[in-house]
């Protein structure tokens, strides 16, 4: 059916399609805390990760269609490992990875019939909080350098708004996790309690040697969640050191 469709309309249709697809899924948030960068996703699966390690200081968080962002994750790991092997481990940066993702998503969006329904965050922890970088890459390949925190997916605007009220770059891990889960529980206007079982949590820990990425799960996650809730119930931010 050789209908003529104006390019503007074509792009708009694709964008609407992608946005709808992404909005069906749950959100993820990435934010700074006193010890580095915290990544939290609303994810019931323990094995199909939304949050992963890309390289020594760089992590990946994604929302949307799993096979599509999983492909992007594998591509990022391959790119980073080739780069680091060819030059030096320090020569792999979050900016390069964010660019590669932006180019790939941009190409897919403009050239293929079906855009990818994904939204991605690339976070890199620096030696000091000033060196931290958080990039958000959307389905059409636009890239945004975010300051301090970012929410992607489902209803990221509401989540982002909720996070803005609670975000503090020097919060303890428990307090930051509490802010993140409270923001995520605001999704789609509903208010629900997020349990450890439906959270995927990881950190890029500034003080760690070699690889900074570490997952937080099991009893440690439960105790951090309790600590965070206790702290905010007692009024405001907690300054307790995390173990």
């Amino acid at each position: 059916m050789p209908f003529y469709v104006a390019p503007e309309q074509q792009m708009k249709d694709k964008a609407d399609y992608a946005r709808k697809g992404i909005a069906r899924g749950r959100s993820a948030v990435v934010l700074q805390y006193e010890g580095g960068i915290l990544l939290v996703a609303d994810n019931v699966s323990r094995t199909l990760h939304k949050i992963s390690e890309l390289y020594d200081r760089i992590a990946f968080a994604a929302v949307g269609r799993y096979p599509e962002f999983e492909n992007l994750r594998l591509m990022g790991v391959r790119f980073a490992d080739v780069r680091g092997y060819q030059y030096d481990r320090r020569d792999v940066s979050g900016r390069q990875l964010a660019n590669i993702y932006a180019q790939t998503l941009g190409t897919v969006f403009s050239e293929s019939l079906k855009p990818w329904e994904v939204e991605i965050v690339v976070a890199e922890v620096g030696d000091t909080p000033d060196g931290d970088e958080i990039y958000r890459i959307t389905f059409d390949g636009s890239i945004v350098d975010e300051q301090g925190f970012v929410a992607v997916g489902g209803s990221s605007e509401q989540v982002s708004q909720a996070l803005k009220d609670r975000f503090a770059a020097d919060a303890s891990l428990a307090a930051a996790l509490d802010a993140a889960t409270r923001a995520l529980s605001r999704e789609n206007g509903e208010e629900r309690e997020l349990e450890a079982a439906n959270l995927e949590v990881a950190v890029l820990e500034r003080s760690r040697d070699h690889r900074k990425f570490r997952r937080i799960q099991g009893p440690r996650l439960v105790s951090l969640l309790e600590e965070g809730r206790g702290g905010s119930a007692a009024g405001g931010s907690t300054t307790e050191d995390d173990a």
């Binding site: 094995t47 992963s52 490992d81 080739v82 680091g84 092997y85 590669i100 190409t107």
Partner: protein
């Protein structure tokens, strides 16, 4: 091949390659980066092109394993390097050390590090210790052509096995043959002397610090009788490297701790030049 690397996204294989092995992937996209690539297939007396790395010892102790290496690299009768590092942390629970052609060995160890980490990131879980040992065996076998021309590289692989709560040692030959060693092993030019020394000093109940002492004594003995092995250099403050792997992960002993132990060894030799004796009965 990589023109589009910065400009137009990556080659398709970055997205579609069906492998979790970094070496296989590299062979597909950047074969020229593999160790030993571009060296002539046929050659004569190429050994002088890269120095030789010498003696490594490894021994297990309850709950872990320790590996130590001297710092010397030689080229014929010359000392090519006094403070070379032959020990490589490969991941949280393993380490590899190399003896033989230094240039290729270092490349191989570097590739192996990336290989283990790459697999872990791609698959979301680490290889088993046997899996890691077997992978290294394949990579050594891949170097066989080079070995035939004189570029022999032999690694010694150690790791902590979480399933059995103990340290394990694997040795290799140039064809990739893999042998699990019980208790202790040594490779490199001074290995004959080092192994003899460890054999006499080894006990099943060595603590971590005593195990380090035994390793340093054995490296001293290797340096004593093998000109290619370097002893502790108190004046330049160059000491052997010692890596310890337990259930808490990989740890390189800090230089001042090794310096303290090495100084004790050297001072002991001032009194008894042949070192400690093992009881006869």
């Amino acid at each position: 091949m990589f023109e589009g690397f910065e400009g137009k996204g990556l080659p398709a294989s970055f997205m579609s390659a069906g492998t979790s092995s970094f070496t296989e992937f590299l062979r597909e996209v950047r074969p020229e980066l593999l160790p030993g690539h571009g060296l002539p297939a046929q050659g004569i007396a190429a050994e002088h092109l890269t120095p030789d790395a010498t003696t490594i010892v490894a021994l297990t102790f309850p709950g872990g394993v320790l590996i130590a290496g001297d710092r010397r690299a030689t080229q014929g009768n010359m000392i090519a390097n006094r403070d070379m590092e032959k020990l490589f942390r490969t991941d949280e629970f393993s380490a590899v050390a190399i003896a033989g052609s230094a240039g290729i060995g270092i490349e191989l160890a570097r590739l192996y590090q990336v290989e283990l980490e790459h697999y872990e990131k791609m698959e979301g879980r680490s290889l088993s210790l046997e899996g890691k040992a077997n992978k290294l065996s394949q990579m050594v076998r891949g170097n066989l052509g080079m070995a035939m021309q004189g570029f022999v590289v032999v690694p010694l692989f150690v790791g902590y096995d979480e399933n059995h709560d103990k340290g394990r040692v694997f040795s290799y030959d140039a064809t990739g043959g893999r042998y699990e060693e019980q208790r202790y092993h040594s490779i490199g030019s001074g290995s004959v002397f080092a192994r003899g020394s460890v054999k006499k000093l080894y006990r099943e109940d060595l603590g971590e610090s005593d195990a380090a002492k035994v390793a340093l004594e054995s490296l001293y003995d290797a340096a004593d009788d093998d000109s290619a092995t370097g002893g502790p250099d108190l004046h330049r403050k160059i000491f052997p490297l010692v890596d310890v792997i337990t259930r808490d992960g990989h740890r390189r002993l800090p230089t001042d701790e090794v310096a303290r132990l090495a100084t004790e060894v050297v001072q002991g030799r001032a009194v008894r030049p042949d070192g400690p004796t093992a009881p006869l009965a």
